[in-house]
């Protein structure tokens, strides 16, 4: 095991619980520049549209969609790498 943090480990997390589309994507757009280029930002969102719209945002804005998982309490959590 490497002692350095995993490269997909987010350095920031946006809590978008309770926000309806398109708010989670707007929050992501606002805060992606908070992390350095190459770093990952997480978005926690319970709005079902986020599952499609966050990868779509990455595609349209040239960012990298790393993947989706769940928080410990079962809310969807999306990982995005800032590429520029």
């Amino acid at each position: 095991m490497s002692p350095t943090p995993h490269e997909d480990e987010p350095v920031a997390e946006l809590d978008c619980r309770g926000l309806l589309c398109p708010r989670p994507v707007i929050e992501l757009a606002r805060h992606v520049a908070d992390v350095p280029v190459g770093a990952v930002i997480a978005v926690v969102a319970d709005d079902v549209a986020a599952a499609t719209d966050i990868p779509a945002w990455c595609r349209m804005r040239g960012q990298e969609f790393v993947g989706a998982g769940r928080t410990t309490d079962g809310v969807a959590r999306y990982l995005v790498r800032r590429t520029g």
Partner: protein, 370 residues
């Protein structure tokens, strides 16, 4: 400021009544009121009108008259078509396969099948909305002729050739506008989508196809229909269908060019995704999504400015779920608009919409703090 004239751009939901249907409807209500099964003169009149409606519909679609049944809606025709093929092939299995972008009526029929112990699964589509491989060992396959939200045409003939299963074709989005694709064992269409009156669906069952009524039957003229036929509306629907088929080459070419103009114009707005196949598509539908835009806000603002359009965004849906079609394509679901042209939509209408959109989008984005 005077209110601009309303521009109706939601014909994919429902087309205004075609003048040919209107002319027939009034006469048919006078002559087609009786029960076509009875033996008296008014009943014979109604029966004649019903038979005429069936023959005219069959001729316009290029099918046999005994393959046509009138139903109370397109949705009911879909349910009968899907579940009737499954019932007819129950000895061979219970595995229903549908593309992931079928109309909700197909999905509901699949869920109904699954709730009764059958198997129901969907197969993915590519980014344009077109289906890929379909399992060869399905009991029945559902594939639309064209997608009702994004307009993409499906390879029905190829899928039907590749699969051994009977294919149900939901032709509601294309009927009248385009010839029926080859390869269907059963198909459905809906008159109000081509300018017929609402309340008329078409169930087509191919001669020789194994189809069994999945619902309680009835003792009508036609064994596949239930309840008294809406004879005047069926005749008006047939008249509209004949008229639409007669001038579709001209109308399709005109609408398709206007859709090209819309696609190109909308693509110039920053952070916009134009969805669906740019060429292998229905002539009259185009869908696009604006990043950071609330779907309900844009539909409401366009309505205020005189444009009637639909949206697949979650906030505009009764279910509050985003369009399963856009989701299956991986397309942006928020800020979504579906524009579907009417027969009389002009270049000026399209240009007015294109002139309004950048400002409407910019204002909504500004309100969101972007």
């Amino acid at each position: 400021m005077s209110t601009p004239p309303a521009v109706y751009l939601d014909t994919a939901s429902s087309e205004p009544l075609h003048p040919a249907a209107r002319a027939v409807l009034e006469q048919a209500f006078d002559r087609g009121y009786a029960d076509p099964r009875r033996l008296h003169r008014p009943a014979r009149d109604a029966r004649l009108l019903l038979d005429n409606a069936r023959e005219a519909t069959a001729e316009a679609l290029g099918v046999r008259a005994d393959e046509v049944s009138f139903t109370p809606s397109g949705t009911h025709a879909v349910h009968l078509g899907v579940l009737g093929l499954l019932a007819g092939h129950a000895r061979h299995g219970d595995r229903l396969v549908a593309s992931a972008v079928e109309h909700s009526s197909v999905m509901h029929a699949g869920q109904w099948h699954a709730a009764r112990g059958g198997r129901f699964e969907t197969v993915p589509v590519d980014a344009s909305g077109r289906v890929g491989d379909v399992p060869a060992d399905a009991t029945a396959v559902c594939l639309q002729s064209a997608n009702h939200e994004v307009g993409t045409l499906q390879p029905v003939g190829e899928v039907a050739t590749a699969t051994g299963a009977p294919v149900f074709v939901d032709a509601c989005a294309s009927a009248g506008r385009l010839p029926l694709p080859d390869g269907w064992a059963a198909a459905a269409a809906s008159a109000h989508k081509w300018g017929g009156p609402p309340g008329v669906g078409l169930l087509l069952v191919r001669k020789g196809a194994r189809w069994r009524n999945p619902f309680p039957g009835d003792d009508r003229v036609d064994e596949r229909s239930t309840g008294m036929e809406n004879v005047p509306a069926a005749l008006a629907a047939a008249a509209a269908l004949q008229a639409v088929v007669a001038d579709r080459d001209e109308v399709n070419a005109r609408q398709s060019a206007l859709v090209d103009r819309l696609r190109a114009g909308v693509a110039r707005i920053a952070d916009t995704e134009v969805v669906g196949d740019p060429s292998r598509r229905l002539p009259h539908i185009v869908t696009f999504s604006f990043l950071y835009v609330d779907g309900e806000a844009i539909v409401t603002e366009l309505d205020r400015r005189g444009f009637s359009v639909a949206s697949g965004s979650a906030c505009t849906a009764s279910t509050l779920e985003p369009s399963h079609v856009l989701a299956a394509m991986g397309a942006l679901t928020h800020g979504n608009l579906r524009v579907s042209l009417a027969r009389d939509t002009t270049g000026e209408d399209v240009d007015r919409l294109l002139a309004a959109l950048p400002d409407v989008v910019a204002r909504i984005r500004q309100d969101a703090g972007l």
